[in-house]
């Protein structure tokens, strides 16, 4: 791919950095650009689902299909913005926001019982039946003071998940 930072101008880097709320350093953005170009084999400007699935580790992840809906077709700026929740500088609320978006993959602004069932289904596969999943989810929702009929909002997620020491970080390898 050649010397990638020559294809990415200083102006581009700053624009991307601003878009991701300065959660990545300029060096990390250059490294991510190299990675983006490596994955986007046909230089289309975005990474297709097939190209994501050619990463064996990603393809083995139980949530890969759900995540693909979020990352398929993103351009580089949006790609970095997606990954910014995983930066060590990201706050816990920013991380929880990403988790909310993974549940609410169609972007309606609320997470329904159906969404919860789908994610639990991805995580447990054929090792739990639909009824078992329904039972588990209904019980834990009730115990936390929610009902399965009213959808969860972002502030509910914040309340339930906000605990110090929640790490969801990746390190961008900078050469």
């Amino acid at each position: 791919m050649g010397n990638a930072s020559s294809m990415l101008t200083q102006y581009d880097i700053e624009e991307v950095q601003e878009h991701c709320h300065y959660l990545f350093s300029q060096q990390e953005i250059v490294a991510l650009y190299n990675r983006f170009c490596q994955l986007d084999r046909s230089a289309k400007g975005f990474i297709s689902s097939e190209e994501f699935l050619s990463i064996p580790e990603f393809s083995l992840n139980p949530l890969s299909q759900r995540l693909l809906k979020m990352v398929d077709g993103l351009n580089f700026k949006e790609f970095v913005a997606f990954l910014s929740a995983f930066s060590p500088l990201a706050t816990v609320p920013q991380k929880i926001e990403l988790i909310f978006k993974v549940y609410d993959v169609d972007g309606k602004g609320r997470v329904t019982f159906k969404d919860l069932m789908e994610v639990l289904g991805d995580l447990t596969g054929s090792f739990m039946s639909e009824e078992q999943r329904e039972k588990v989810l209904s019980r834990v929702l009730e115990e936390a003071g929610y009902s399965r009929d009213s959808p969860l909002l972002l502030e509910d997620f914040m309340k339930v998940l906000c605990k110090p020491g929640m790490t969801m970080e990746v390190e961008v390898p900078v050469d």
């Binding site: 990675r35 393809s59 139980p62 090792f127 339930v160 929640m166 969801m168 990746v170």
Partner: protein, 371 residues
């Protein structure tokens, strides 16, 4: 571990991969009561996914690192231009001529011998062997190959196979110029396939097709027959099954290691000083790859013939394969990764996702019972 009753080597390779991916999070601590928080918190899984997107050890194996440009200077740039002129204008035509002359000489000797002398004629086998070695030397000369061989040269004996790490199809040519091996190769289309069919058959090469699943048994059978033959050319196998970028080794397929004969490891390391010999088959055709080599100054590499290894009592073929991979990786200075090279062409088996799902499901159900 469930699901390992199957005898196919794919499953056995998967088993080693599983161990890499049962991360600490999946080994649960003693069960506590289940809360909403535990089900909503998918952060470990997301972290793994994002980690894979940002960097993964598999893609790294196939990354061709472009050389740093050094010609940005007032005096370096004209020097580089001069170099380009010499390489493309003088060396390249010269090399093409040598190659053409070599092929003509080869065919004028090969064709008569092949058609006039009968099959299984000792003289014909000897001549064909020497001719193949000769044309490979011509190829090596056409890239100005500077190749240092270390260790005792392979000898023609029964009950032995040679295994080597794989970077490009030129590995085969480099090894073949020293000894006419019978190689196990992927069937290629185009002019390479033509050469495979006509010339290489005569030294006993065996073809396979990655995409045909039944193929594996046929190849295994042919292989076994060949190693038992007395005056057949020694067999060369590239157990990685695909070209890797010469900084890493991917997992070795166990086929070469369960034949019950000696395994002689060969380590190959290219020096990237003038050209990167890694053939990225997704990016370049073999013809373009050869042209790239022929327009570079030289191909520099080291070949080490290592001590023949035998399977130890109580060692499984996979452990044997790993042990030999260790030897080759250490000798050639390559890093090992726990991936199957075929993941370049096929998706990982869903059994691995199922394993993770099973662990999580069981933990949830167990904790549900806790009060």
């Amino acid at each position: 571990m469930a699901g390992l009753g199957s005898s196919s080597s794919e499953m056995d390779l998967d088993r080693l991969n599983i161990e890499e991916y049962l991360t600490v999070e999946s080994i649960r601590e003693s069960p506590r009561k289940l809360h909403l928080r535990d089900l909503l918190d998918i952060s470990p899984t997301l972290k793994e996914a994002a980690g894979a997107i940002v960097d993964d050890s598999f893609t790294r194996c196939f990354k061709s690192n472009p050389p740093e440009p050094w010609n940005w200077n007032v005096y370096l740039f004209p020097l580089w231009c001069l170099g380009v002129v010499i390489r493309y204008g003088i060396l390249f035509p010269l090399r093409v001529t040598i190659l053409a002359a070599g092929w003509i000489a080869f065919f004028s000797a090969f064709l008569p011998v092949h058609f006039l002398l009968g099959d299984h004629n000792k003289l014909r086998q000897k001549v064909e062997r020497k001719l193949v070695e000769m044309i490979c030397s011509v190829f090596v000369a056409s890239w100005t190959g500077v190749i240092k061989y270390h260790g005792p040269r392979p000898s023609i004996r029964p009950q032995q196979v040679f295994v080597a790490n794989h970077t490009s199809m030129i590995d085969f040519i480099i090894l073949e110029q020293m000894t006419a091996f019978a190689v196990i190769m992927q069937k290629h289309p185009g002019w390479v396939g033509f050469i495979q069919k006509t010339i290489l058959e005569s030294v006993g090469c065996i073809w396979f097709n990655r995409t045909e699943s039944k193929d594996r048994e046929i190849v295994a059978r042919k292989l076994r027959e060949h190693t038992q033959g007395v005056d057949k050319n020694p067999v060369l196998i590239f157990p990685e099954g695909t070209c890797v970028n010469n900084h890493y080794t991917v997992m070795f397929k166990k086929g070469a290691f369960e034949l019950g004969c000696a395994v002689c490891p060969v380590a190959i390391k290219y020096n990237k000083i003038f050209v990167d010999a890694f053939w990225n088959s997704k990016k370049q055709s073999f013809t373009m790859h050869l042209v790239q080599l022929m327009t570079s100054w030289a191909v520099v590499c080291d070949v080490w013939y290592l001590e023949p290894q035998y399977i130890r009592p109580g060692e499984t073929p996979i452990e044997f394969a790993e042990r030999v991979r260790d030897m080759i990786s250490i000798r050639a200075g390559l890093k090992k990764v726990p991936w199957d090279g075929y993941l370049k062409y096929f998706r990982p088996s869903p059994k691995l996702i199922e394993r993770k799902q099973q662990i999580f499901a069981e933990s949830v159900l167990q904790r549900l019972e806790e009060k």
